[in-house]
């Protein structure tokens, strides 16, 4: 065996193991979710389903509160995304494109709020929401999720905003363009991949948030997917087919988004860290 071949073989095997380690569990819940109840609980697990049924999905969509959870999660995620994009893009433009005293300190404060452990806010946040009469509302979740995602979003935007040459702005200003005009017509289109990646980040953050949702939401009708699913697996007797269908359906929107803009997203994630 030549060294080159051996290198490729080792690389191929380790790559396969790595990706299987991450992706195989997802295949497993998906393939199990389309098996018949008998096959799911059979003592010998089957890699490829022997039976095929959509009964778990049928139950999920027609006989459970899943559609309500899905709707709530979507509403919260879209609200979080919109506010995060506006607040973070404005702040990022200010921090990375304008020069003013105290800029670096503000940048650091935003970074600190990102690393700030949310669990320390749990009790006072609940108290604040109850004073504002927002407990058990989707608005309360949007407020919390924006706080959790906006600081990191600003950080992610750093790399995207810094790559745009300053001369572009100066040239536009020379031609009489206003600041707002420059932002809307020059900066935003150029920073579009960055804005897309923070939008996805905010969506995912909101889609996965459990800690605050579990205490701020009380009624069944306002539950989001993580809280709703947690309620289902918290029951004594777990109907696995149903739960696995729920997990698959919850993962699906993330897969779609990720398939569309995953590249920008990963770029944005790493850009902040390595500059």
């Amino acid at each position: 065996m030549t060294p080159r071949l051996r290198h490729n073989l080792v690389l191929g095997i380790s790559l396969f193991l790595l990706m299987a380690f991450i992706l195989a569990p997802f295949y497993w819940i998906f393939s199990s979710s389309i098996k018949s109840p008998q096959e799911i609980i059979s003592a010998t697990p089957t890699l490829v389903p022997h039976s095929f049924t959509l009964e778990h999905y049928d139950k999920l969509l027609n006989e459970s509160a899943f559609p309500t959870y899905l709707k709530n999660s979507l509403l919260v995620a879209v609200g979080t995304m919109a506010i995060t994009v506006i607040l973070s893009t404005l702040a990022a433009y200010g921090l990375y494109r304008l020069r003013f005293p105290g800029r670096i300190m503000l940048f650091r404060i935003i970074l600190i709020t990102y690393a700030f452990p949310g669990v320390l806010l749990l009790v006072p946040m609940y108290q604040m929401m109850s004073k504002l009469k927002l407990v058990d509302s989707l608005e309360s979740l949007v407020i919390v999720n924006v706080t959790l995602s906006a600081p990191f979003a600003v950080w992610m935007l750093q790399a995207f905003f810094r790559t745009i040459p300053r001369e572009l702005e100066e040239a536009a200003a020379l031609d009489g363009a206003t600041r707002l005009g420059i932002i809307v017509r020059i900066m935003l289109p150029l920073a579009a991949p960055g804005v897309a990646s923070i939008a996805i980040f905010a969506f995912i953050m909101s889609w996965t948030e459990y800690l605050f949702s579990s205490i701020l939401i009380i009624s069944e009708a306002n539950r989001t997917l993580p809280v709703g699913l947690a309620g289902i697996i918290g029951q004594y007797q777990i109907d696995w087919g149903f739960v696995l269908a729920g997990a698959t359906a919850t993962t699906l929107p993330v897969l779609v988004l990720f398939g569309l803009v995953g590249r920008n997203f990963v770029e944005g994630l790493t850009a902040g860290a390595v500059k």
């Binding site: 700030f116 320390l120 205490i215 993580p226």
Partner: protein
């Protein structure tokens, strides 16, 4: 006003807009950052101050009246074995997660850095475990590790690695180890893509030059890779530790802190105290103490681990 000659005109116009531009720049800068700062002040700073206030009272359930009791809640927290156990568990949690995730992430980053077909796709989908909701992660692993019908136990028994199905959550140590592994599975790909980005920024020529000089792989790691990665490792070490400390849902949904408190870290204890035992003020005191501990950690970390050259730009 004298007439502007042709030579002067453009220069003059240019300096005018420049002056105007810079005069408004400071004002605009604050105006752009202000909305976010106000938002964060309202949702982080204000609650933080409110939690100190709350911790000095004896409120049990929100809405019920309380009176100021001084530092009683702090004293009770510091004296309670529950709090000390949770602090210890949090310490174990953070260190174990850091070690396991760093090893896995480094391995993954080295593999992904190689040239192969489809590496662009692999580099994106590797973080799937990090982007799905924790509750999905929990469902996946409860299903895979289930004692009856779980595929992991099926494989372990049939490959002769275990005589009978392993109870992954049955004893305290086993449950803690399992939850740490599951959390590491969720987080290591995220660390891997960050490390990968750091590795890709190291110029290939450095390694080539070192090879010419006869450096071993270990020497290259020690003198090229690690020093170049220092800024990335610093950020990962600081922010990663704080984020890992903050992890609540994966523990809560897998073990609810059990069996008998073995997996109760500080976030779990705070949650339990506030919303299961209804001791809101007590939980606020625990949050404040925890905040101080983390602050001290961050200060020490920054003091001793900061990369030599400040990475901050201009």
């Amino acid at each position: 006003m004298r007439e502007i000659t042709h030579d002067e005109a453009p220069v003059r116009r240019r300096s005018n807009w420049r002056a105007e531009w810079f005069r408004t720049e400071t004002l605009m800068g604050y105006a752009f950052v202000l909305p976010l700062m106000l938002w964060l002040a309202g949702t982080i700073l204000y609650p933080l101050i409110a939690s100190v206030d709350l911790s000095l009272q004896n409120i049990k359930i929100i809405g019920s009246p309380g009176e100021y009791v001084g530092l009683e809640n702090y004293q009770r927290a510091l004296e309670s074995p529950d709090f000390r156990d949770a602090l210890k568990n949090s310490g174990v949690w953070v260190v174990a997660n850091a070690v396991i995730q760093t090893v896995l992430a480094f391995g993954a980053a080295v593999i992904l850095k190689q040239r192969f077909k489809g590496n662009g796709i692999a580099r994106i989908w590797i973080i799937l475990s990090w982007v799905v909701p924790t509750v999905v992660v929990v469902i996946i692993w409860r299903w895979l590790l289930s004692a009856s019908g779980g595929v992991v136990n099926y494989l372990l028994v049939n490959l002769g690695l275990a005589d009978k199905p392993v109870g992954f959550f049955s004893t305290g140590n086993m449950a803690f180890f399992t939850v740490i592994m599951i959390n590491s599975w969720r987080w290591f790909p995220f660390n891997a893509v960050i490390l990968l980005a750091g590795l890709q920024r190291i110029p290939e020529e450095l390694y080539e030059a070192a090879s010419v000089d006869g450096a071993t792989t270990l020497k290259k790691l020690r003198y090229i890779t690690l020093p170049s990665l220092q800024p990335v490792l610093f950020v990962m070490g600081l922010i990663g530790t704080l984020l890992s400390f903050n992890v609540f849902d994966v523990i809560w949904l897998l073990t609810a802190g059990g069996p008998s408190g073995a997996t109760t870290t500080l976030p779990v204890l705070i949650y339990e105290t506030a919303f299961k035992r209804y001791r809101l003020s007590q939980a606020a005191a625990m949050s404040v103490i925890t905040g101080v501990i983390l602050l001290v950690f961050a200060a020490i970390f920054i003091r001793f681990m900061s990369p030599a050259a400040d990475a901050e730009e201009d």
